[in-house]
């Protein structure tokens, strides 16, 4: 496999892993109704402004968190950086490569773990990982060696290596998803709510894997979450996204200092409520704060 590091733009020193400038995205959702009716009537399309003038930079080696409720635009942003959505406005670069114009190079540099584990459910972890490894150009023997090493590291029982993924717990599936990302040695890892829906133990294990990726594999990490504690514990800096706009961006301590003279007395949840006027309910949906 060609090392993802060999694709880093050599003309400049790219201490900036991600540069996002004035990104905007609008979706048009078609409401129910037959085709002719929908074509005749534009009112049958609902306009959703997913992202509005998003600008930020991520330094190499940083864990950068994006905190926001469901529907705030976190996943759309991750998809734009993953080359899966083309923005309407603005541009984004990963290690100096434009995500739209140089999408093939960008794909070599990144990997993504999403909230859905995205596996062939009837295939085993080894079969799924083998598919991923070959897509990224690894040879069969090299892939097998890496897969077994990573699965052992994750603590998977050898008997489960060949069992269908659908028989595994969600926590275990999510760990295999992270293993798949490890496998291709990305230098930017996009983690889209990787711990949502996991039990506390699985959540902690996934979080420790994230830290290991950064510390031992020199990866930069962009993490979206609506778990305030997770964001505070893992992230060097946090952007708070609400209704497609960044309402605040700073280190956890500085964010807290914005709303209270004694930061140790406030939580990230207080910060979120103060800056957005909303609270997060248990499922991650934003609800209006009651005064």
């Amino acid at each position: 496999m060609v090392s993802s590091r060999s694709y880093i733009h050599h003309n400049e020193e790219h201490e900036e892993a991600v540069v996002v400038e004035h990104i905007g995205k609008t979706f048009y959702l078609t409401r129910e109704g037959h085709l002719l009716k929908r074509l005749r009537n534009r009112a049958h399309q609902e306009r959703i402004r997913a992202l509005h003038d998003i600008t930020f930079r991520i330094q190499r080696g940083e864990i950068f968190g994006i905190l926001g409720p469901n529907g705030s635009g976190k996943s759309t942003l991750i998809r734009i950086l993953s080359t899966l959505i083309i923005p309407d406005e603005g541009r984004a670069w990963i290690f100096g490569h434009d995500v739209v114009r140089e999408d093939m190079i960008v794909r070599r540099l990144i990997n993504r773990v999403s909230v859905e584990a995205s596996f062939f459910k009837k295939l085993s972890p080894v079969e799924n990982l083998m598919y991923g490894a070959r897509l990224y150009g690894l040879s069969g023997p090299e892939a097998r060696q890496r897969i077994h090493r990573i699965l052992r590291r994750l603590g998977l029982r050898e008997t489960s290596y060949t069992q269908p993924m659908e028989n595994m717990s969600r926590g275990m599936q999510q760990k295999v998803a992270i293993a798949r990302a490890f496998l291709t040695s990305p230098i930017l890892l996009l983690l889209d709510e990787p711990t949502t829906g996991l039990d506390p133990r699985s959540k902690r294990e996934v979080q420790s894997l994230i830290l290991e990726l950064r510390d031992e594999h020199d990866a930069t990490i962009l993490l979206t979450t609506h778990d305030m504690v997770e964001a505070e514990n893992l992230c060097d800096r946090i952007a708070i996204l609400d209704e497609g706009r960044i309402v605040a961006l700073d280190t956890p301590d500085n964010l807290k200092a914005r709303i209270a003279p004694y930061p140790e007395e406030v939580t990230m949840e207080d910060v979120f409520m103060a800056l957005t006027g909303k609270a997060l309910d248990t499922t991650g949906d934003a609800i209006l704060a009651h005064a």
């Binding site: 060609v2 083309i86 062939f120 040879s139």
Partner: protein, 275 residues
């Protein structure tokens, strides 16, 4: 350069290996599909065997059996190739893996090559297995058949089905809920218009015009010429070359259409919808 080619070939092989693994895991459905296809092929071929009794007139039964058998086997092969390619996006939507596959650092040509190689291999094994069972039920003589010519005709014709399959595969990309239904309609129309079980000149004239636009019409006519009448390969060459040209054209257009559809889906956010 060599390293890039090697990586692309490995990526292409990823689709073959993945599909073989999926086939193994869904073996129950593969057996059901085989049993259904075999029963359907036998039923159609028995129409040939029964024609003398049905019509009450003298019929060249062996010729009719072979005529129908060619139709059912060629159609089986071409439809498996078409299905495997046209459903590549639909499968991934069902599994929820479409975004993972489409963000892999591979060219669409590499993706298509892998999917196509599997489809042709799958179609060939599936069809040969059906043929192997059918010959146990009927006395089939291939004494005057030009097998080389018919094989070349089939290969040339499958290029067009690969191209059409690639084009049809974009339907689930553009229409997440109705795309798969549309793909089945395309396949049904090809079956109706292409003279799979009858000469196209029995169709109304407007249907014959459409039949002449279908590559399957030429494949079936050419293979019947080669097997039933023993027409030599040299005489089949113009049709073979025509099919190769049309096939390459359809594959190039198919790839272009797929890339445009992928871009459209990325602009409108249609990739993310699963199921």
């Amino acid at each position: 350069m060599l390293r890039t080619v090697r990586m692309e070939l490995r990526a292409s092989y990823a689709f073959i290996e993945r599909n073989i693994n999926l086939m193994r895991r869904y073996m129950g459905w593969e057996i059901v599909w085989f049993a259904y296809s075999l029963a359907s092929a036998l039923s159609i071929t028995y129409i040939g065997a029964a024609m003398e009794r049905i019509s009450g007139t003298s019929v060249n039964t062996d010729y009719l059996i072979l005529y129908l058998l060619i139709g059912t086997l060629v159609w089986r092969f071409l439809s498996v190739v078409f299905n495997d390619i046209s459903e590549m996006i639909q499968w991934e939507r069902w599994e929820g893996t479409i975004e993972y596959t489409l963000m892999a650092p591979i060219h669409r040509l590499t993706h298509m090559m892998g999917q196509t190689a599997f489809a042709v291999l799958h179609g060939a094994i599936f069809t040969l297995a059906i043929a192997g069972v059918i010959v146990l039920f009927f006395h089939i003589s291939l004494a005057q058949a030009n097998l080389l010519g018919s094989t070349l005709m089939l290969i040339a014709g499958s290029l067009s089905f690969i191209g059409m399959g690639i084009m049809a595969s974009v339907l689930p990309l553009l229409f997440p809920e109705r795309g798969a239904q549309m793909t089945n309609v395309v396949q049904a129309l090809l079956l109706l218009f292409s003279g799979v079980y009858y000469p196209v000149d029995v169709l109304p004239s407007w249907m014959q015009l459409i039949a002449r636009a279908s590559p399957a019409t030429y494949v079936l006519e050419g293979i019947r010429q080669a097997i039933l009448n023993g027409v030599p390969t040299r005489a089949l060459l113009p049709t073979i070359l025509y099919l190769v040209a049309v096939g390459i054209g359809l594959m190039v257009v198919g790839l272009w259409v797929f890339e445009q559809a992928e871009r459209y889906a990325k602009r409108t956010g249609k990739l993310k919808r699963n199921g």
